[in-house]
């Protein structure tokens, strides 16, 4: 560990990354047309191509299988077409040996084979498409520009069927597991299709709707409201019936039915990567029985080889937020392994000192042809000549490709030669290219904020391609406006604020909090672990056994011991956080401890306040001793003598959850029921167990245990939300009455024991939410900064989230989140500073009337009210400001201005628009 050599084979692109400007001329000239894999071969592309417009690296490459030169030594038309001279057929495959301290495997997932898909007519029937093909059809950037049309005849599809569990929960194809994402993406695609055309009728045929993630059930309910039809059944097959596709299925009552559709979508599951075995061999790691990476419930990101970690769908089928969380967690584990050598291989780039820009603006304007992309429509020379005629413009020129490496260098020279102190580039979009040009300015010793872009590609040559003269005039307008703004640009400092307290505060001492604390300490930083109760461990204290077989008590004991003995971790039990002041890098928390108050200085905060079981009132709980929660049953099952006497058990799922009390799914209860059912059967194989459920949400590899429980004779009976089971007591015995849809009759059972699966509720955190200015969802869990891309962060910088405080989830997912939160939290601690974007708000204290509107509106807790003499004034905490401008827009006295977007700058730009040419 810490010392690996990795041999990597690097295949040639045949187009030089440094020279290619992605103008696309090579593709225009190439005579070879091939299927466009990015669009699932529903569209065509050329031999030289990039996968999609926003592809990174932003460079083309040649598909060697398609190239006439590489296969037949002819053609080479791209070589002469490329003005940037980027085509290089001499490029060879290389083998590189890399010295690395750790490895993270994130190869993703594989595709379900066509053989499996062909069971449902795929390949034979043109209008049977995969979920990914449908995704491309609904995409505005896809082959049909978002039109949902049938591949067979190009007609609009009006009736569409989605068939769930394709290549998933299907032992016959070898994939017994649940792919965990298909229910969600089918619902999403159905809703997107409905948005394209509300008249489209969509039916989703499913076995269980597994929308168990945070806020996921709400999306499913919205889909239902929009008219998406959900049919509980497994489809047997798809047949052609004239112009339509006929599917046959068995409904819940056991009736065989047939129905016709225009199109059938197969939202295929996720498989292990096609090269999983060779990758596992190369890395020296084990795979599980489905050829995904082998991991454990308590070490979900560790492979079987120390120093090699896993993240994403290779660990098990999962969605984007879980993959992103895995990634941050795996990074944290690698950082723990390599804490002694942090920073040893990184170099920081040095820039020349910023030059004094003097008083008078000296503006340089560079107008870009972008090959023919702009130049083919806009008269670039005319625009450059016009720019030269504007006041304060001391230099104007045109470039073939402004973004090319050599042009960048030329711009740097021109800045020095002409003593430019403001730069305008008229080219493509600042969204992709502004950082590049700002880098060029920095290399020339200019502050990057002395830059302005005019987008004459998207706004002129692209949208006005048919009217080149007008496109040229509009380009001149945009350049004049950009110059007007540039004239008023001022250098803005890129601030670096020090992280003065290189320690973390972890709030909550359950498994999530302990895991986060251990990882932060493992990365070499001090950590204060504050727990409200008298002991560490939280809900894990009540877990007696795991579905996957590990001993949770031993793990709890080990973890607690590691926490208590770690010199970096300071544990405060029976303590709570009363107040927190400061900002990222510089927080001070006031905590109440049994000994009194204490102030803790720290740079980051991890919120791991957890959750607890819902307290049920229904189903005679608390009234009959025969009714217990799953947690209580688990407790009883740890006493095997008592467990052996349990003969007849009924379990009821979704008690509290997915109903009026808790509208959300609690995610863990289905697995808990299966776990307890299997334990009962292990201790007493002749026990009768009936589980009454809404949807069995044993996602991922948990499905194996659900399958096993059924094989062992556990009876699973579905009920609807509208007709839940009824529990009554007669003569001191309980009776459970429910409808069996297959038998179509009411069934009454008299079990020895009724185990109810109660959901999870969040801890009481309203006060903490106010103290830290971190928001809660409607369900009372904490709301992360972004559900997909920032799942363990808050909008407030320096504050991170994990465990049940984020939402209900099993222990392994809490551990991943906790590790991820620790990884994220250590970034500012490791850097030792926080960089602040130059575009932040500034408040003029003379104009500020201290009304506090800005403070209450700021979503990032970046404004605080301070006392100046006797008056209140607002002040920006630059370290936390994101430059969104909400404060400036709402300030009643215009006391707030945004760097780079001052009123003066914007108004002068608008005024310039009205000026005559």
């Amino acid at each position: 560990m810490g010392n690996f050599t990795a041999r990597v084979r690097r295949e040639p692109r045949y187009i030089d990354l440094g020279l290619c400007t992605a103008c696309g001329i090579c593709a225009n000239y190439c005579p070879v047309i091939i299927g466009d894999a990015y669009n699932e071969n529903l569209a065509l592309t050329k031999g030289p191509h990039r996968d999609y417009v926003q592809a990174v690296p932003a460079s083309f490459y040649i598909d060697p299988a398609a190239c006439l030169y590489l296969n037949h030594e002819t053609c080479q038309i791209c070589v002469s077409a490329c003005q940037a001279k980027a085509i290089n057929f001499y490029e060879q495959e290389e083998t590189v040996d890399l010295e690395v301290g750790a490895v993270i495997l994130a190869p993703g997932f594989g595709r379900i084979s066509e053989e499996v898909l062909s069971t449902y007519g795929y390949g034979r029937l043109a209008d049977v498409v995969t979920g990914m093909e449908f995704e491309r059809l609904t995409s505005a950037s896809g082959p049909t520009m978002g039109k949902i049309i049938r591949p067979s005849d190009g007609q609009h599809a009006h009736r569409i069927a989605f068939l769930q569990c394709i290549g998933s929960r299907d032992v016959s194809c070898g994939n017994g597991y649940c792919s965990s994402v298909c229910c969600m993406y089918a619902v999403k695609e159905a809703v997107v299709a409905k948005e394209h055309d509300p008249d489209i009728e969509i039916s989703i045929f499913y076995m269980d709707m597994r929308t168990q993630g945070k806020e996921f059930d709400y999306a499913r309910l919205r889909a239902k409201e929009k008219g998406v039809r959900f049919v509980r059944s497994r489809v047997a097959g798809v047949q052609e019936n004239g112009n339509a596709l006929e599917i046959s299925y068995v409904n819940e009552a056991g009736k065989h039915l047939k129905e016709s559709f225009d199109m059938v979508v197969l939202p295929e599951g996720l498989e292990s990567p096609g090269d999983a075995q060779s990758l596992a061999r190369a890395a020296g790691i084990d795979l599980n029985h489905y050829h995904f990476c082998s991991t454990g419930s308590f070490v979900p990101l560790q492979t079987t080889r120390p120093g090699i970690f896993v993240s994403g769908a290779f660990q098990g089928p999962k969605d984007v937020p879980e993959s992103v969380t895995d990634a941050s967690g795996a990074a944290a584990l690698a950082a723990e392994a390599l804490k002694m050598v942090r920073g040893s291989r990184v170099e920081s780039k040095e820039y020349p000192a910023e030059i004094d820009i003097g008083q008078a603006p000296r503006i340089g304007v560079f107008v870009c042809s972008c090959g023919t992309n702009v130049g083919g429509v806009v008269d670039v020379k005319a625009v450059a000549d016009y720019a030269a005629s504007l006041d304060d413009v001391v230099f104007a020129d045109m470039n073939l490709f402004s973004c090319a490496q050599n042009t960048q260098e030329a711009i740097t020279e021109k800045i020095s030669e002409n003593r430019l102190n403001r730069v305008v580039v008229a080219a493509c979009t600042p969204r992709t290219h502004e950082p590049l040009f700002q880098e060029t300015l920095k290399n020339a010793g200019l502050n990057p904020c002395l830059f302005e872009m005019a987008n004459i590609r998207d706004h002129c040559s692209w949208v006005h391609a048919a009217v080149p003269a007008e496109a040229t005039e509009k380009s001149k307008d945009l350049v004049r406006m950009a110059v007007a703004k540039a004239r008023r640009l001022e250098p803005l400092p890129e601030q670096k604020l020090p992280v003065t307290h290189k320690a973390a505060l972890v709030i909550g001492g359950g498994m999530a909090g302990m895991t986060a604390a251990l990882s932060i300490a493992g990365q070499g930083f001090d950590c204060f672990l504050v727990e409200e109760s008298g002991e560490l461990g939280g809900n894990l204290r009540h877990i007696r056994f795991m579905l996957s077989g590990e001993d949770p008590r031993k793990i709890l004991q080990d973890t607690e011991e590691r926490v208590r003995s770690n010199p970096h971790i300071h544990v405060y039990t029976n303590s709570s956080v009363e107040d927190v002041s400061g900002y990222v890098g510089n927080f001070v928390a006031s905590i109440r401890t049994p000994e009194g108050h204490e102030n803790l200085e720290h740079g980051v905060i991890v919120v791991a306040t957890g959750g607890k079981p819902y307290e049920p009132k229904q189903y005679l709980y608390g009234k009959s001793t025969q009714v217990v929660t799953q947690g209580e049953l688990e407790e009883r099952l740890s006493d095997s003598d008592e467990a052996k006497r349990i003969n007849n058990v009924v379990m009821i799922q979704c008690v509290g959850s997915r109903g009026q009390d808790l509208p959300y799914c609690s995610k863990i209860c289905c697995g808990q029921a299966v776990k307890n059912a299997l334990k009962i059967l292990e201790l007493n194989p002749s026990a009768n167990i009936t589980v009454l459920y809404r949807d069995m949400r044993t996602y991922g590899f948990m499905e194996d245990y659900y399958q096993l429980a059924r094989e062992k004779g556990v009876i699973f009976v579905h009920f609807d939300k509208e007709s839940p089971p009824e529990v009554t007591e007669k003569g001191g015995r309980i009776q459970v009455e429910f409808v069996d849809k297959i038998l179509d009759e009411r069934v009454i059972l008299e079990p020895d024991l009724l185990a109810i699966s109660v959901g999870i509720v969040p801890s009481r955190v309203e006060a903490l939410s106010k103290i830290l200015k971190i928001p809660l969802t409607g369900d009372g869990f904490f709301l992360e900064a972004h559900p997909k891309l920032r799942p363990v962060e808050f909008t407030v910088d320096g504050v991170y989230l994990c465990g049940l405080a984020h939402g209900p989830k099993p222990i392994s997912e809490s551990i991943v989140q906790a590790t991820a939160a620790a990884g994220k939290a250590c970034i500012p601690l490791a850097k030792g500073y926080v960089t602040v974007d130059p575009i932040v708000s500034s408040i003029d204290p003379d104009s500020c009337i201290g009304c506090g509107i800005c403070e209450s509106l700021c979503p990032y807790a970046a404004i605080k009210m301070i006392k100046v003499g006797k008056k209140k004034k607002a002040e920006t905490i630059s370290a936390s400001c994101k430059g969104c401008g909400i404060c400036a827009a709402h300030c009643p006295t215009l006391a707030i201005y945004m760097g780079g977007f001052t009123n003066e700058q914007i108004l002068s730009q608008i005024r310039a628009f009205g000026e005559e040419l």
Partner: protein
């Protein structure tokens, strides 16, 4: 103990998981080699039109 270890990490796969791991590792002070088989990074997420449940643009 630190002498024999390398302060660099190899990330195999340039989908969303690999990209995120690389960004975080760089932030934590490690040199990253990001290995991707395809011609560009982005993986399966780049092919998605929208993302569940918010229907945000995937790219």
């Amino acid at each position: 103990m630190g002498e024999s270890k390398f302060g660099s990490v190899m990330v195999v796969g340039g989908g969303i998981a690999g990209i995120q791991a690389s960004l975080d590792l760089a932030g934590l002070g490690y040199y990253v080699y990001l290995i991707e088989k395809a011609g560009s990074i982005g993986g399966a997420m780049a092919q998605l039109d929208k993302t569940f449940p918010t229907n945000d643009c995937a790219i």
